[in-house]
């Protein structure tokens, strides 16, 4: 079992990464008061555009960039609908999820079932000599490191920077933020676009790194899991990380358990990641006062400066 720990960790870190990108992006969006339920759709569009770009250019990073841009573009549609045109956020978000699934299938028609050759990863090898952590660090994809960077950046931005405070103000009390001169709509636009961009990167990670191929609906519900993570993590970035790795970790551990003959019905084991993640996050976030403190008060409520 000890020998399995390193490979389990490596695969877990990989499996949690798309959830981290998508969930941290959505976290920032929700902190600004915008509830975008279309993460799954934005991820799918990011995945297909990234795949098409990478398979035509042969470049992983161009693919990731294209996925980011595509996610942003889809989020822009949502932002125009809900922030400028004041459409209902829940309805628009659900529509976005469905639209993304259909649109990605349409765009990816000519690429369905295709796969990419495995791509060079170019991970740092400085630490390869360190026991236990060394082999893990060298095996990881650069995007995994970027997800850690994103975590650090989002945590710093939200809780240590002035602009983060303003963004949270827009999510807590847009009227107050507006009355002291902050452009609430613009802030919410930027936060929504950021969420879309990160969902696009999450999709790109799935279609380029995790399984280098395009398949309709290949995100397989990870967008919805990311949404749930944000809520169950009570809008705290560190808990999002914990939830994402827990989810990935339990998924992977049950594969290892199956392979070594431990375990009961595989169908029941497939439900474990969902159960474990929800139970743990609910337990650590069960303090009602803290939930109220962390949840953006104006989440999902439209704001118009003239009203």
């Amino acid at each position: 079992m000890i020998d399995s720990i390193v490979p389990i960790l490596i695969v877990t870190l990989g499996a949690g990464t798309p959830l981290i990108f998508a969930a941290l992006g959505e976290l920032v969006t929700e902190k600004s008061g915008v509830l975008n339920l279309g993460v799954e759709g934005m991820m799918l569009v990011g995945a297909v555009v990234a795949f098409i770009t990478a398979s035509n250019t042969g470049s992983l990073w161009l693919g990731v960039g294209a996925g980011l841009a595509a996610g942003t573009a889809i989020a822009l549609i949502f932002a125009v609908l809900t922030l400028t045109l004041q459409a209902n956020q829940v309805a628009a978000g659900l529509a976005l999820a469905i639209f993304g699934a259909g649109f990605s299938a349409f765009v990816g028609k000519g690429y369905l079932g295709m796969a990419l050759q495995s791509m060079p990863r170019g991970a740092p090898s400085l630490l390869s000599g360190v026991p236990l952590i060394g082999p893990i660090l060298t095996e990881l994809h650069p995007l995994v490191y970027l997800s850690w960077l994103l975590f650090a950046a989002v945590s710093w931005f939200l809780y240590k920077s002035r602009s983060g405070l303003v963004l949270r103000a827009a999510g807590e009390s847009p009227t107050a933020a507006h009355s002291i001169g902050y452009p609430v709509i613009r802030i919410r636009y930027l936060a929504t676009l950021f969420g879309g961009a990160m969902a696009g990167v999450a999709g790109a990670y799935l279609s380029l790194v995790n399984a280098p191929l395009w398949m309709e609906g290949m995100t397989a519900g990870r967008g919805w899991i990311a949404l749930a993570l944000v809520v169950f993590a009570s809008w705290r970035p560190a808990r999002v990380m914990l939830g994402a790795y827990l989810f990935g970790g339990v998924t992977i551990t049950q594969f290892f358990a199956q392979g070594s003959g431990i375990g009961f019905a595989s169908q029941a084991m497939s439900t474990l990641p969902y159960l474990a993640t929800i139970v743990v996050l609910v337990l650590i976030s069960r303090n009602l006062t803290l939930i109220r403190l962390n949840a953006p008060v104006s989440l999902g409520k439209p704001f118009h400066p003239d009203r």
């Binding site: 399995s4 796969a115 050759q117 398949m215 309709e216 290892f256 392979g259 019905a265 595989s266 497939s270």
Partner: protein, 366 residues
């Protein structure tokens, strides 16, 4: 061949219904072409299950130039929709309607009962009617050969299998694979991981990583995507593809694969319906010129003696001299399932739910 999606199809079928049947062109003898409908559950991709059916449609059209008028309907995901599509195709005058997946069996049975003058064929169906036949691949013959390759090529004596669902169609492929491997290398074991989905490539890849980390150096399984091979190649492991030939994506490390080739099923059905000699039957065929399964191109890295052995066994299987499920066969709990000198009967093979000796890992209780 005309490909329409379900939505376009339902939109146009009402208006065009009878016109399509009446407006068909005749061949030199004045006989109108046979209208054939093929219904896919998902869109047709570059490789995979739907692709193999699409290739069979093309082969059928090429076999009877000018004599067929084929309508292909794709993306009919729900059984209820399939029922409507079957009915509409029949109303438009399609005399032969081909279903491409097990989940279309129930709606097809329902429609076929009500439309006795239309001929139906359903892939992987376990029930037939007077006007509805079934076709299915004995692909365990090919996975047996894949197992022989794996058993000879493995260094670690551990094989890995990523299974979608533990249904008979997957279990007989797995058992065939392990029987083949252990026929040449009794030390071999095969670790199995079930991912309980047909369409989550990321999970597939994670399962491959888990198996390789546990020592597997030849990977095979049931998901119909190249992911497994690509992921294995990345880690330097061999793979045995399935469904389609993945060698254009898995350039170095694909040993071979079991391909589905339904051309014979389609061509024979169209031929017999046109000749008026079609009879309902449940056709279950493996390797060979009239079969439904083929080996993917062999990797050039396979040593000549191994290849010769595999090819000899392939001939023996086609000639009926070698049956992968010939006894003695024990299951993984040590219970004898097939006695020496006996062969597992088809009826038991069609519903197989036990793993042979050498299969390790979680397996549903038989």
């Amino acid at each position: 061949m005309k490909i329409v999606t379900r939505r376009e199809f339902l939109k146009s079928s009402g208006a065009l219904g009878v016109a399509a049947a009446a407006g068909s062109v005749g061949d030199a003898f004045g006989q109108p072409p046979l209208m054939v409908g093929v219904v896919h559950q998902f869109p047709i991709g570059d490789v995979g299950w739907e692709t193999q059916h699409s290739l069979a449609t093309k082969a059928m059209e090429a076999a009877f130039p000018g004599k067929l008028k084929v309508t292909v309907v794709t993306d009919v995901q729900q059984a209820q929709d399939a029922e409507r599509v079957f009915r509409d195709l029949a109303a438009q005058g399609h005399k032969l309607i081909i279903g491409t997946t097990f989940s279309q069996m129930a709606p097809m049975l329902k429609v076929a009962r009500q439309l006795p003058n239309t001929t139906f064929e359903c892939c992987a169906a376990i029930n037939t009617l007077k006007n509805m036949g079934a076709y299915e691949a004995r692909n365990y013959e090919a996975t047996y050969l894949g197992g022989v390759l794996a058993g000879r090529m493995t260094k670690s004596n551990v094989l890995g299998w990523v299974g979608a669902f533990p249904i008979p169609q997957v279990v007989w492929r797995l058992d065939g694979f392990v029987l083949g491997a252990r026929s040449v290398n009794p030390k071999v074991t095969c670790k199995v991981v079930w991912i309980n989905t047909w369409s989550d490539p990321a999970k597939e890849k994670d399962a491959v990583s888990a198996l390789i980390s546990q020592g597997a150096d030849v990977l095979a399984g049931s998901p119909n995507t190249p992911v497994q091979g690509v992921a294995a190649e990345e880690r330097g492991a061999w793979s045995f593809g399935n469904c389609s030939d993945f060698s254009k994506y898995v350039k170095q490390k694909q040993l071979s694969g079991d391909l589905l080739d339904w051309s014979n099923a389609y061509i024979e059905a169209a031929r017999d319906v046109m000749a008026g000699t079609w009879k309902s039957q449940s056709r279950w065929r493996g390797l060979g010129p009239s079969g439904y399964t083929k080996m993917a191109p062999y990797n050039s890295a396979i040593p000549a003696d191994v290849l010769a052995d595999v090819q000899k066994r392939e001939k023996d299987i086609i000639a009926g001299k070698l049956h992968p499920f010939a006894g003695p066969i024990k299951d993984r709990d040590g219970k004898q399932r097939v006695a020496a000198g006996a062969v597992l009967p088809d009826a038991e093979l069609r519903s197989i739910n036990w793993a042979v000796e050498g299969v390790e890992g979680a397996f549903p209780k038989a």
